[in-house]
C-alpha cells in the first residue's frame, strides 16, 4: 500500500512538474494576443510621436548679423530686422572663407554676417543649427544715378530711402544695359548719366566703407527712375576718392 501511495505521489509530482515546464515554454493564446497588441500600440505611439515631431520641425535657413553669441546659442538679426535664436550643439559645423585652420563658435563675433541652415522648431521658433557659415555677400542697390565722375570712374546713386551711395567702377566691373528691344546687352560706363535707373551689386571698399566697389552694374535706359527718389543738386555731393583696389587711395589732381 505504501509502495502504491509513493508511486502515485511520484507520478503526480512528475505530471505537475511537466505541466509547469510546458506552461512556461508555451504561452497561452490570451497572453500572446495581449503582447502583440501592446507592441502594436507601442509602434503606433512611436509613429504618432515621430509624425508630430516632423510636423513641428522643418528644414530652414536664413542669413543675419550676429547680435549676441554664447557657447550654445547665437542671436541673429535677420534681413527683416527680427531677432532669431540659433541653438548650437556638437553636430553643428562652422565655416568661414577667411578661416585657415579649425573654425568654431568661439570664432563667431558680434557684427558678423552669417548664414545658418538647420532644423527649425515651429513651436519654440528656434533653429538648431547644422551649418553656420560666415558670409561675405555683395550688397545690392536699386536707384537712380545722381552724379557721374568720368575722370575717376565713379558715380553716386540715390536709393528709394533717399540714401546717397558712392560707387566705384573698376576693371572687374561688368556693366550691362537692359532694353525691351535688345534685352540684356553689354554696356559701359559712358552710358551712365544723371537720372538714369541702375541696379548695382558690389562690395564695400576695404579702406573706405562708404564706397561700394561695383562688381556688376545693370543700367535701365528705358525705365524711369522711382518718383520717390529725390534727385538733389550734384554740387551738394562731396567728390568721391576712387579706390585703387590695392588699398592705396588716389588723390585727384587739382589744377
Amino acid at each position: 500500500m505504501k509502495k502504491i501511495t509513493s508511486g502515485l505521489l511520484l507520478l503526480f509530482l512528475c505530471v505537475l512538474s511537466m505541466q509547469s515546464v510546458f506552461a512556461a515554454t508555451t504561452p497561452t493564446p490570451t497572453a500572446s494576443v495581449s503582447q502583440s497588441e501592446q507592441q502594436i500600440n507601442n509602434l503606433k505611439d512611436r509613429i504618432a510621436s515621430r509624425v508630430a515631431q516632423l510636423n513641428l520641425v522643418e528644414k530652414k535657413g536664413f542669413i543675419g548679423t550676429v547680435s549676441d553669441v554664447s557657447e550654445t546659442q547665437i542671436t541673429l538679426t535677420d534681413m527683416q530686422g527680427a531677432d532669431r535664436i540659433v541653438d548650437v550643439d556638437e553636430l553643428t559645423k562652422f565655416s568661414s572663407p577667411s578661416a585657415k585652420s579649425s573654425f568654431g563658435i568661439s570664432d563667431i563675433s558680434k557684427g558678423q554676417l552669417v548664414g545658418v541652415i538647420g532644423l527649425y522648431n515651429k513651436d519654440s521658433r528656434r533653429l538648431l543649427a547644422r551649418w553656420i557659415d560666415v558670409l561675405k555677400l555683395p550688397q545690392i542697390f536699386s536707384g537712380a544715378v545722381l552724379t557721374v565722375d568720368k575722370d575717376n570712374f565713379t558715380f553716386t546713386i540715390a536709393t528709394v530711402d533717399n540714401q546717397s551711395i558712392a560707387i566705384d567702377v573698376e576693371n572687374i566691373t561688368k556693366t550691362n544695359a537692359y532694353t525691351s528691344a535688345a534685352g540684356v546687352a553689354k554696356s559701359g560706363f559712358s552710358k551712365l548719366s544723371p537720372g538714369i535707373r541702375v541696379l548695382v551689386v558690389g562690395f564695400p571698399d576695404a579702406k573706405n566703407k562708404n564706397l561700394i566697389v561695383a562688381s556688376r552694374i545693370l543700367v535701365f535706359p528705358d525705365l524711369k527712375s522711382n518718383p520717390k527718389i529725390t534727385l538733389i543738386n550734384p554740387t551738394d555731393i562731396a567728390p568721391i576718392t576712387p579706390s585703387t583696389g590695392s588699398g592705396k587711395t588716389l588723390t585727384p589732381i587739382t589744377k
Binding site: K59, K60, I63, L199, P227, K228
Partner: protein, 140 residues
C-alpha cells in the same frame, strides 16, 4: 396711517433725488477746462502708397532648403511691370505674361543664397523682395 407713511417716504426719496440731480447739474455747468489742458487729436488717414507695385512670389519659399542648385522663381505682378531677378552672381530680366505671372530659373551656389526681386512699372514705381534660399545635398 401706514399707507400715508409709505407715500410720504416715496415722495421724500423722489424729492431728494430731484434736489441731488439739480445740484449735480449746477456743479457740472460751473466746471471749466483751461485751454492748456485741451489736447487736439487728429486721426490721420493712412496715406496709400501709390508707388507700390504688387509683387508676390509663389516659389521658392523664403528660408527654404533645397537639394537642387537650379531653382524656379515664379510669382505674380502687374502685366506692365519689368521683373529683375538678381542673385549673388547673376542678373536676369523678364517681362510677365498678360496675367502678370512670371517664371524663370536661376542657378544658385551651395549654401546660403539671396534672391533679390525688383518689379518696376513704366512710371518708375517699384517693389522689392529678398528671399533666402539654401542649397545642400547633405541629409540632416
Amino acid at each position: 396711517m401706514r399707507i400715508e407713511k409709505i407715500i410720504l417716504a416715496i415722495a421724500g426719496v423722489f424729492a431728494g433725488l430731484f434736489v441731488a440731480g439739480i445740484a449735480f447739474y449746477i456743479y457740472q455747468t460751473t466746471q471749466t477746462i483751461s485751454p492748456s489742458n485741451i489736447k487736439t487729436i487728429t486721426l490721420q488717414k493712412p496715406t496709400p502708397d501709390v508707388n507700390a507695385v504688387p509683387l508676390s512670389v509663389d516659389s521658392p519659399a523664403d528660408e527654404s532648403v533645397t537639394s537642387s542648385k537650379i531653382v524656379t522663381v515664379s510669382g505674380k505682378t502687374q502685366p506692365q511691370a519689368t521683373i529683375v531677378v538678381t542673385t549673388d552672381t547673376t542678373d536676369t530680366v523678364v517681362k510677365p505674361s498678360s496675367s502678370g505671372a512670371f517664371s524663370l530659373t536661376v542657378t544658385l551656389a551651395t549654401g546660403e543664397n539671396r534672391i533679390f526681386l525688383l518689379a518696376v512699372m513704366p512710371d518708375g514705381s517699384e517693389s522689392q523682395k529678398v528671399l533666402t534660399v539654401n542649397v545642400t545635398t547633405e541629409d540632416f
